[in-house]
Every structure is written in C-alpha cells, then in structure tokens.
Symmetry: C2
Subunit: 547 residues, 2 copies
C-alpha cells in the first residue's frame, strides 16, 4: 500500500489526536494485570470521574500514533498456547478468557458474570483473532448499550485516509464499533487501513465486496465467490459480518404490497439473486459452511434483516416477521457451531410497535443480542432523522436492544460528513445512556449526578467536562458569557449575576450541616433566618429564562 | 407605543412572511361557514395534502401583514350577543361554541366530541375574549399533541421587534402556542406587540411582571400587586397563565436534600416569599379570587410545577408529588368556578419513571391536560438538550401528555437565537407527531405515508415538500446532487444512478396490476420474468450507503 501512503505531514493533518477537553487517559488493572483504558474527567473540586472509553490511543497523550504502521497490538499473544476457539466455546467450557476479564473491568461487573452471559448467547464479544489491535468490548442487554457508526467510501466520494479519520473521529465521540460499508474501488485497502488502526471491533457486509468481484451484477453472484470474500475478510481481521441469509425466495412476494418494498442493500441484492435464478438464497443453503469459516477466526454473525420495514406503513409486517423466524433458525445453527451471533432489527417503526420487535426477537432468537438501526419513529422529518430515530433508539434500547446503529442527519438525503458523523454518534450516545439509566445499570447515573452537582454548585467548567460534547457546551455558554470568571460565577446567562433559586437550597443545607440538625428542623430554623435575612438584605431572586 | 414603532422598511426586514416552500394557505369551511386555515402541500403527481397550520396570515400570500396595526381579528364578534362565559361553562351547558366548531374542523373530529372533551375538563381551548386575533386551538390528550415555544426578552437582550419575529418564526415551524417570558423593561409593551400579532394563544407567568413591579424583591410581593398584574394581562388578552399556587410553605423543606433544589423560576420566587414571611403562598390562599378574575376573560390556568425536578436524581420525589396533590386540589376549585385548567409537569425524568408522572397527574387532577417541559431523560448532554428532552417528550406524550413545552439546544447554557428556536420547534414537532402515530390519531399517518410513497416513487421534490423542514431537506440533498434533473431521478446519492432495490418491488407491483393477477401469482410470474430480464440486460443493483 506504499503507493497510497500520505506523507507524515498529510497524515498529521488528517488524524485527530489528543485528549477530549478536560479529560486524560488512565488505565485500570484487571486481576491478571491487563490494562483497561478509561477516560478520567478531572473536576475543579478535586474529584474525578472515570468513564468508559472507546477512543483508543488517539486520545492518549503518551501514545505515538502512526496510521501507516498501525496501532499497538493490545491482544498480541493473548491466544498463544491456547487452541483456536470462539469466546462462546470457551465460555461454555467454563473458561474466563482475557477478553472476558478485560470487558468485565470495562463494565464494572464480574468476569464470571460476563462468562455466563457469553455462554448463554445473551452477549457476544466480537474479537477476530486476526484483529489484535482492538480493545475487547461486550454486546448484550445486561451490559451498557453500545453504539455503532457506519463509515466507508463509495465509488465517487472519500479517500482511504478520510475513512480512517472518520473511524478515529467516530470512536473519539463514543462509537463502540464501526462498520466499513465501503463500495467501489480500493475496498480491500480501505478496510485494511481501518482494521490496522481501529481500537474498536470492525463490522462489514461481505456481499458488497462480493458484488464488486462479479462486476456489480447480483445474478452473477455465487456461493464460491461469496465464500472466498468472507475468508479474505476473516484473514484481514473483520470482527463481525452482516449476512442476509434470512431473505428466502418465498418471502420476497410478501414485500410486493409494501409502501416502500425492500430497503436493505444486502436484502435487495439477495432478493435480486433469488429472482434472477428463481432459487433459494445461497447464504441460507450454505449457512453451515459459513459457520465453520467464521468459527475458525471467532468472527461474530450479525444476521441481517434484509426485509426490514422502510416506512411506518410497513412496520411489523409479515415479510419482516417471517424473516425474523428464519433468523431464529440460523441463530440456533450458528450456536451449534460455537459461533457468536447478533441479530439485526429495524428500521422504521412507530413507538407503539417497537416493544413487540424486541419481544419476538428474544423469543425466536434465544435472546441473541439485538442490533437495531434506529428505528425511525416517523417518516416526515428528513434532515432530522438522527432525532426521529434517536427517539426510537432510546425506546428500543430500554426494551432490551444491545447495540444501536446510528443514523445521521443526512439519512435518506446524502452522504454524511464529519459533522454529521459527530452529531449521529452524540445523539446515539444520548439514546444509549437514557436506556442505561432506565434499565438501572449500576453505574450509569454517576455521570448524571456528577454533572447535576456541578450545575447546582455553579462549577461551569465541570459541567462542560462532564458533558458528552464539552467543546460545544462551552462554546454555547461562551456566546453569552465568554469571560473566564463566568466559569465560576454563581449564576448563568439566564439568571443574571444575583441570588438564584438553587442558592436558597444550598443555604438551607449548609445550615443543617453546621447545626447538625435534622433537615426539617434545620429548614424551619433556616426559614426563620431567611425571613430575617431577606428583611435585612432585601435579597433578590433573578429569573432563569426557561420555566 | 408610537415611540417604539420601527419604520416600514425595518419592519419589512424583520418579519418573516410568505408560504413554506411547496405549500400554500387554504381554508376549509365549517358547518356554519367559519374559515379554518390549513397548509396545502402540492405534490408533483397532482395530489395534495392539507396539514394542520399554526402560522397564521404570515404564510398567506393574499394577506397583508402590518405588525403595527396588528392581525385581522378573526374572532371579532364571535361573542357578540352572548354573555361572558368560559368555554368550559358553555360546554357544560351543552352549547357548541364557534371556537369548538373551529377546532373540530382543524382536528378532523366532530364538534360534539370537542364539546364533550371540554365539558369533562380533559381538554381546554385557551381563548381570552380580549385576544380576538388568535385562531382557536384545543389542548387535550384525545387531540393532536401540541407544542409550545417560549420567547421573551430579558433585561439586556432582545428588542420588542425581535420577540415578535421570534413568535412569527416559531409558529411558522409549527408552535401551537407561545409563552412570553419577558423580564426587565418594556415588559408590557413587548407583550402587547406579541398579542396583537399572534395567531396562536399566548401564555405568560404573571409573577415575573409582578416581581418587576416591586423592584425584584420577592419579599415585597403581595396578593394585591399580583392581582393587579393579572387583571392587566387579562385585559391585554393573555390566553393562559402559569400560576405557582402549589408551592406550599411546608413543601419547601422537602427540596432541601435534592441534588438540584428548586429549579423553577416561579417556584423559587414563591419559595423565597414563603421563607421571607414564613407564611403560606398567597397564590394558594387567594386562589378562589384568582379564579373569579380568570373566569371573566376565559383565561386558562396553567398550574405551575414550581417544585419539578431539575435533575435525574430528583425525579418523582416527595416534593414533586406533594405539590402535584395540591395542584389536583386547585384543579377542582378552578373547575367549580368554570375556569379551564392545564397542569404543568417536569422537567428531568429518566425514561422508566415517565409514565408514573402521567398516571398520577390524571388521577389527582381529573385528567386535566398535562403540559410538560421535556422531560430530559439524562443530564449529561448540555448543548443537545433538545434531543435528551425530545426523547422524553415523545415518551410522555405517548403516555397522554397534551402539550409539550419545547427545549432548545441552548438550554442550561444561554439564550436561544433564531436557529435554536427553529431546531427546538422542529424537534418537538417530531416528538409530538411520533406520539400522535403511537396513539393512533386518525389522520396522523397520512403524511408519513405520503412522504414514504414519494420516497418509493423517487419524487424527491415531494419528499422535501412533505417534510417538516423542506428547506433543510433540499439543502442536504443538493450538497451531493444539486442538479434539477436529480429531483426526478430514480436514485439517490446513496444508490447511484442505476436500478435499485425499491425498483424491483415497483416492477412486481405494476405487473400484478397489468395482469390483474393475485399478488403472489404475479410475483411468481414476475420472478420468472426478472430471471430472463436479468440474463438479458445484466441489470445491476447499486448500493445505498446505510444498511
């Protein structure tokens, strides 16, 4: 790939490095001494909060990054001296792997709990043994909800370097995995560069490359071409693959009366192949052989929902649920081969029909981690589909979805740029976190409480540092109050520089602590004092704008 | 107000007029001949869709707008020859008023149904007889979910003209009501200008002006000052007023151990007054007198939740629900006086605690329309709180909230500008519409289906026109495919200019229609034909970016 290497200066200008403002990289040790990365948010009151970190060495000031040589291989040697087995096989054998130990520390849970979840198939650890650069993570409904960001060049648009930077940029803001959906030329090389530089698992849809191999004509596709493509991608280190093996010939007619027909790329390709040959989907008929290939590398299946609804009108219809039954059958076959499995979900679904998708998937697919695209809860807001789908993502994650595939503001309209990627990731981190709170994840609320305390105590800088996007939060605040003293002032631009509502509560609390009174007694005393203080000082209350 | 009138040219440059792109104003006649405005979206296939319209004459090309003389008084004479009674009194008396008839046509429901909902107190029609410029609208859980936008100048910031334009701008994008939260100087004059030019009901929080009257010291507030302020605002034409009469002296101690104390402006002012005098809230002790004043103008109560939670940690706590019980008591008193009532709700609430807020409000307040601020479902995303709260707004609206108070990206950080207002309104229209779909409002899905059909048939221009924000949707599309022919091309920038998945379904359907075959037969025939066609043409399928 020497011919495509940018020179050092180009590279320096292309890849975003350095810590997120107000944070620094720290490492927690596991029982056996593995170093697990966290992002430490330093607060002005001397406290700190360590949060889950997906950004890899790019945010580590002590690390040197060179996209040409690739990332340090954190998992190098982890599998030495142990036979090639999948995480599922080890978990079933009662063995806690280093990957399980690593993710246990990341999630703040016990290694044995992780092993049990993986053994049951309720969780997966996508970690191809040929992708040692990736930091292990776990996907399952009893862990933190994860977010995937799609990247990938298309024939006409972005360069290899741009795609690597998109991956770095997406993981900087919290993407837990990325999918390389590249099409067109340089597809192998783009994927190679992304894999060697990605600290997170990388997913692909092999049918796209297979289609390129046969010149873009679905009718020319064959099991042999597809198989060779999958082996190539396994060797490169792809961690999970979307396979549309559930699009059966007899299901295609069920889409004929839909408002928006078939909207999945992979689904449409396989439907086209079935129509062209009037034969059954070769991914379905060769599924066991596919399992044997993925098992050898511990590549995780992401069973694609090729017949997912593309509009509110088509949600939860026969075509969608017929395919889901087949995905359940394929899940069982994959597990018989010790291959880890996720199942993909919709799409476009109105709020009242969302929960049924999770319930059916859990029943039919043995609680395999559900991985959904949104869903969009209305069709009427193109240019805002990160929001129409962010609502659905939060609702479906609360119901049990394990990973959310982000949607950007450009969905349905065009190709996302750098800002769209950030907006999509942040929106989906919000949806995932809202669901973590609703599901009662043990440590999820720590960050909300830390930020709310900072807000109550007028520690503006800490509010920015604790937020998902410190740069934008600070910029919005500075539009009204740029001066540095404002960062510690006991007011906000909505209140003006005077006594405010929160202050009342603070005074009452301090009084209670001084006096060692029970709160209510303290309040009563406090209220009497306030009565005098008000009379004395003519204290004022100023008004925040929003009520 | 002559002294503050901008000249015509200033005015022309300040107020946004003209139809939304691809739409024009039309009027539907009611049984008795009232003209009800709708926005007609013209489609390129000759069809059209008439949608609910909040924008008033500003989007009517045939109307002349002069903010100095104010809007045409659409309700002038509606009450002539009928005694002054509230909509609630008329509804209870079995009378269908013109306001009820008007909103029935707006909502596509029967006038009698509207009367029943108003009579039961489940719905309100905020329509001060002194605000004849407003086009009647209804707020209730059995009608379309409504959205309020807060505007209002503060001491240092925007001018009267800017606030009028903010109102015009917010209603252009779909705000069903606006609240004027002005503080500081020119508060009367700002409100006067907004009222005379507002086609939607205007709400206020009278305690803000009352506080100005006493020089900003809550301790100096009194029932007499407040009463005179309320009468002044009733005379001006304010349609609904937020009254924090539920903040009782004994509830203030319950906020002492909260993470964020009291975060409502009105709540903090009344708490400060109670603390200063160690006496009961004068809004509570004089509530019946207040009812008599509001009844004379048919001003609707919006009972404020002064003790709402300001953080996830404080959600659904004793202070919040204690106040809600009192709001239930006040609701009963207001209804005894034939005064219409809404009840305000939180705030900051995690997803799993949202439904309980609606259930308790309906039980305690006799199903009075619930009017909530968000709620925000997490505290960790300042700069994105339109999204953290848009998620909560959709969930709480699905559960039965009748009106949503928008939150802009500047929440907690600064004062919203024009772009923030639009983003806030669009985000909340999405949340409201997602809930309308989930609640099965009879006509809600028409627009989704029309847009999805346009998408499936590659009518790009119609997709833009049917979207909540046609300008931004078109701009995003044009970034990749600016040329006009692209607006009718059978592809998008994600697919490339070739045969795509949706086309397969189209061909199958057309075949079925031509042949008059049952669909499945047609598919089978179609699949055979496709098989030949593929072989013949070597047809290709191109790949959209998102899968």
């Amino acid at each position: 790939m020497a011919d495509v290497r940018p020179n050092a200066s180009e590279n320096a200008s292309e890849i975003t490095t350095g810590p997120i403002s107000g944070s620094r990289k720290v490492f927690h040790s596991t029982g056996s001494g593995l170093r697990v990365p966290f992002r430490r948010i330093e607060l002005t009151n001397g406290e700190h909060l360590d949060v889950y970190d997906t950004s890899g060495p790019y945010t580590d000031e002590t690390a040197t990054v060179d996209v040409h040589s690739g990332l340090h291989r954190v998992r190098a040697g982890w599998t030495d001296g142990r036979e090639h087995r999948t995480q599922l096989a080890w978990a079933r054998a009662g063995v806690i792997t280093r990957e399980m130990e690593f993710v246990a520390t990341r999630e703040g849970l016990s290694p044995e709990f992780v092993r049990e979840e993986v053994a049951s198939g309720r969780a997966v650890i996508p970690a191809n043994r040929c992708h040692p650069e990736s930091e292990p993570m776990v996907i399952g409904k009893n862990f933190l909800v994860k977010v995937n960001a799609n990247i990938g060049s298309s024939a006409v648009t972005s360069s290899v370097e741009e795609e690597v930077e998109k991956m770095v940029w997406a993981t900087r803001w919290g993407a837990d995995t990325v999918m390389d959906l590249s099409t067109g030329k340089r597809i192998h090389e783009t994927r190679e560069r992304i894999l060697r530089n990605s600290p997170v698992p990388v997913g692909t849809v092999p049918i796209y490359q297979a289609l390129e191999e046969v010149g873009g004509d679905p009718a020319e596709l064959s099991w042999e071409v597809y198989r060779d493509t999958v082996v190539e991608q396994c060797e490169q280190g792809v961690d999970y693959m979307t396979v549309h093996a559930g699009v059966l010939l007899r299901y295609v007619p069920l889409t004929a009366q839909r408002v928006t027909g078939i909207v999945s790329r992979g689904g449409s390709i396989m439907a086209a192949w079935c129509l062209a040959h009037h034969r059954e989907n070769f991914l379905y008929t060769h599924f066991s052989e596919l399992c044997e290939i993925l098992r050898d590398y511990d590549v995780t299946f992401s069973l694609g929902d090729g017949l997912r609804p593309g509009s509110i009108a088509d949600a939860n219809d026969r075509a969608q649920f017929a395919e889901l039954e087949t995905l359940g059958e394929l899940t069982r076959i994959a597990r018989e081969h010790d291959v880890q499995v996720m199942v993909e979900g919709p799409g476009h679904v109105p709020m009242h029909l969302i929960a049924e998708n999770v319930r059916r998937e859990e029943e039919l697919c043995g609680e395999a981690p559900f991985y959904t695209l949104g869903p969009l809860t209305t069709d009427i807001a193109p240019a805002y589909d990160h929001i129409t789908s962010g609502i659905g993502a939060a609702v479906i994650a609360q119901a049990g979805t394990a990973m959310l595939c982000y949607v950007t503001p450009k969905e349905h309209l065009g190709l996302p740029d750098r800002d769209d990627v950030k907006t999509g990731v942040i929106t989906y981190k919000i949806a995932a976190h809202a669901a973590d709170l609703a599901k009662g994840h043990p440590r999820a609320q720590e960050r909300d409480d830390a930020l709310s305390r900072a807000r109550f105590e007028f520690r503006w800088t800490d509010q920015f540092r604790l937020s998902l996007d410190p740069d934008t939060a600070r910029a919005f605040h500075d539009e009204t109050l740029p001066a540095e003293p404002a960062k510690t002032a006991h007011f906000c631009s909505m209140c003006g520089p005077k006594f405010c509502s929160m202050k009342i509560t603070q005074d009452i609390r301090e009084l209670a602590e001084e006096r060692g009174l029970t709160t209510v007694e303290a309040i009563e005393a406090g209220m009497r004092e306030k009565s005098e203080e008000f009379a004395r000082t003519g204290g004022e209350i100023y008004l925040p704008l929003a009520d």
